[in-house]
């Protein structure tokens, strides 16, 4: 681990280097401006210090200096803006082939679930060199998922999903922090991100690296399937013709039309809302008969149900 006195902290993701490049440029600009302003103040202080018999000379109104300075500033600032926005957009758009890990924040822990079913708390194990997408929600207040070595951060909100992605470039162990103040044990809400070689990761998934005691090894989709049956969803969403509810295979990612004439893409947020408060949007051709599941299922279970629904159309994907 690098010393806190080193200019840059550990770089362990694909965006880290790009962010650091902007940072170094800004450091250089800042040092230049400070030296320049400092020298001017120093020189003026000596050259024009008060001396007996020497009067000050009053300035004339002249806008050339201000306009020149303003234009220079504008060029610098727009460069910064463009550069910063470009790297930002790169860092917020996950690639299509990213592996999705579900994250639930609650006071004061992170619960994570890998697509193969492995679950962890306050620890995240990921393979090096593979894009990872985190789909995150909170069970209570606002949290923020922050991995300094990857230079990424995203607030985690109750009631909706936010996303974060990265591709680790270096095997190692890095801090995971909660960056949004969330209550008494805010500073304890964190742990470690362990970046492993793909082979080690597979071994870890297989359980050779000690799993969390009692953590089920079923995938979220499998857990979701059980829930789906337990909650009685199959009664209407069996996919059989004439069912009360729509067939869910092929639904994720498609465009759905509602009875009020509007439409939406069936993304995670839509699926979440439809599970919890089905009445909000009624799909064309169906009746508003589905019960409200808010309070019946928790965020982890919603995630599992969504995983199951997605798995129904897995072949098509």
């Amino acid at each position: 681990m690098k010393s806190v006195f080193s200019l840059l902290p550990e770089q362990a993701s694909t965006v880290a280097g790009q962010v650091d490049a902007i940072y170094l440029f800004l450091v250089a600009v800042s040092i230049f401006c400070m030296i320049f302003a400092g020298l001017l103040v120093l020189v003026f202080s000596i050259r024009y210090r008060r001396r007996a018999g020497v009067e000050s000379e009053q300035p004339h109104e002249d806008s050339r200096l201000e306009i020149f300075a303003g234009v220079c500033m504008l060029v610098l600032l727009m460069t910064l803006f463009g550069w910063g926005a470009k790297v930002y957009f790169h860092s917020v758009r996950p690639p299509a082939d990213a592996m999705e890990i579900m994250v639930t924040g609650k006071q004061w822990m992170w619960k994570l679930q890998h697509p193969q079913g492995k679950r962890e708390i306050n620890e995240l194990h990921v393979p090096v060199g593979r894009p990872i997408q985190l789909t995150m929600t909170s069970e209570d207040v606002i949290h923020s998922f922050f991995i300094p070595a990857f230079r990424i951060k995203q607030d985690v909100l109750p009631g909706r999903y936010t996303r974060l992605w990265f591709e680790a470039t270096k095997v190692g162990k890095y801090h995971l922090f909660c960056a949004e103040y969330c209550g008494t044990e805010h500073s304890m809400m964190g742990g470690w991100v362990t970046v492993m070689t793909p082979a080690d990761y597979e071994r870890w998934l297989g359980g050779e690296v000690a799993p969390i005691a009692g953590a089920p090894q079923e995938t979220p989709a499998q857990l979701g399937e059980k829930l789906f049956a337990q909650l009685g969803c199959t009664a209407c969403h069996s996919g059989a013709p004439g069912s009360l509810g729509p067939d869910l295979a092929g639904l994720p990612g498609s465009t759905v039309k509602f009875t009020d004439g509007t439409q939406a893409v069936a993304d995670d947020d839509y699926l979440r809302e439809s599970i919890l408060d089905a009445q909000t949007h009624i799909v064309e051709g169906y009746l508003p008969v589905m019960p409200v599941f808010r309070g019946t299922v928790n965020e982890d279970q919603v995630i599992q149900l969504i995983a199951y629904i997605k798995s129904l159309s897995g072949g098509a994907h």
Binding site: F44, E55, S56, A69, I142, Q154
Partner: protein, 555 residues
Amino acid sequence: MSEASTNATATAAPKSYLDDGSTIRSWLLTIDHKRIAILYLISITIFFALGAFAAAAFRLELLTPQGDFLSAETYNKFFTMHGIVMIFFFLLPSIPAVMGNFLIPIMIGAKDMAFPRLNLLSWYVFMAGAGLAISAIIAGGVDTGWTFYTPYSSMYANSHVILAVTGAFIAGFSSIMTGLNIIVTVQKMRAPGLTWFRLPLFVWSMYATSLVVLLGTPVVAISLAMIFVERFLGFGIFDPALGGDPVLFQHIFWFYSHPAVYIMILPSMGVISEVIACFSRRRVYGYTFVAFSSLAIAVIGFFVWGHHMFVSGQSAYAGVIFSFLTFFVAIPTAIKIINWIMTMHKGSISFDAPMLYAFGFLGLFLVGGLTGLFLSTMATDVHLHDTYFVVSHFHYVMVGGGVMGFFAALHYWWPKMMGRMYPEGWAKFAAIVIFIGFNLTFLPQFQMGYHGMPRRYHAYAPEFQIMHVMSTAGASVMGAGYLTMFSYLIWSLFKGKKASANPWDSRGLEWETACPPPTHNFLETPVVTQDAYSFDLPSVTCVLEKKDKPEEHRV
């Protein structure tokens, strides 16, 4: 005018405002803007001490990574108290309510603020708000952070949020009253001949500040009221379970609270214009640019609030627009800094204590401004948001800029306010100690911030300890500087040399009346004939062409 002359004949030597009544009643029921300013000065000094105490406690706590001096709960309450007290009860009223109240009527040649009773009421309202906030602290504290983010503040926190929120809400109305008074006073009560472009730049910056206060403060008031409604009455407004949006609270909150930063810094900018001009004996370079840049900062400041929310879950496109607009704040700010430095060019510079504080402002505010660029650039902000880098940045702006400006003002106008001089040597010493202590405290915080140290952490990763130790050491140096300053200023009230009417040989109406000024500021309404900063002339009321005995206008 006849009123003034009858006054003058009745009492040959006019009483200073300080001697005009010595009972407690004469202070607590005063409608004299100068006495109200002193009431504010005393109150904010107490609140500053309270906020500093909280800071001292948690800086001590942060000496060790495991957090053994304070419990997590107490630590959270201390940083919240530091934020609430310092922002709502020290910084926001510091220059506007003390210096603005005291100086604006004198600078524009008026006898008082336009609404003297409203002015007194504002102090009582301020104290009522402060009383509620302090009762929240006594009752057991608040642990939400000064930003009161929902749903934590409205649904989860187990502390005295309602008292604190109500206190801040009420204090907001005191700012509004002061801002309203300043706007009307500057618009309607300027002395004859005092056109807008003859005004001292301090008045311009206070005018811009007051516009921000009037437009912004009610919005934060309503956002706090919504927390109150949600928490106290149980009406869901931001509750995600009802489909409410907690990010909406952040939008409404920052719509004010970002401009609020300019409420804290714009007045200081005005002070620096005055001080640098006086001690360089030169008209401020590019007066119109400096004046309009204050207004530009006030206006642009209302369109950049979203830069506090790049990682909050607002849309990426909204973030881009806010980032773009934010960069435009940097232009008028940079022009101001350039113009202050250029004011020294070809001047006749002396290094009295106010000038040293102004230099301190220049250095620290420059760092604050430049590090602002790191945070308005989206890619770097994602990494830096909610780390110590941000903490350090806003301390450079609000303490390095705002508070150093306030100290420069206090030293520059101290003889005018109190009629006494402070010991110059000690004042210079304290200025240097505070400057060094400040940098020792906050420079390490930039470094830890970039290395990923999140803010509001009670316990932290051990590798950051060395930086925290440096920061705490620096804070104690800074604290020593504050104590020195407090001591010699108090000493000067009793033992200081009597000040002459214009100890710095400065220009401006405030220097053309006695030190301290009489109750109605001027015995006769002054007639202004010259620009501010006419250092090549004997006074701003002198008449050059017509021989009109300029001495008569002077007190």
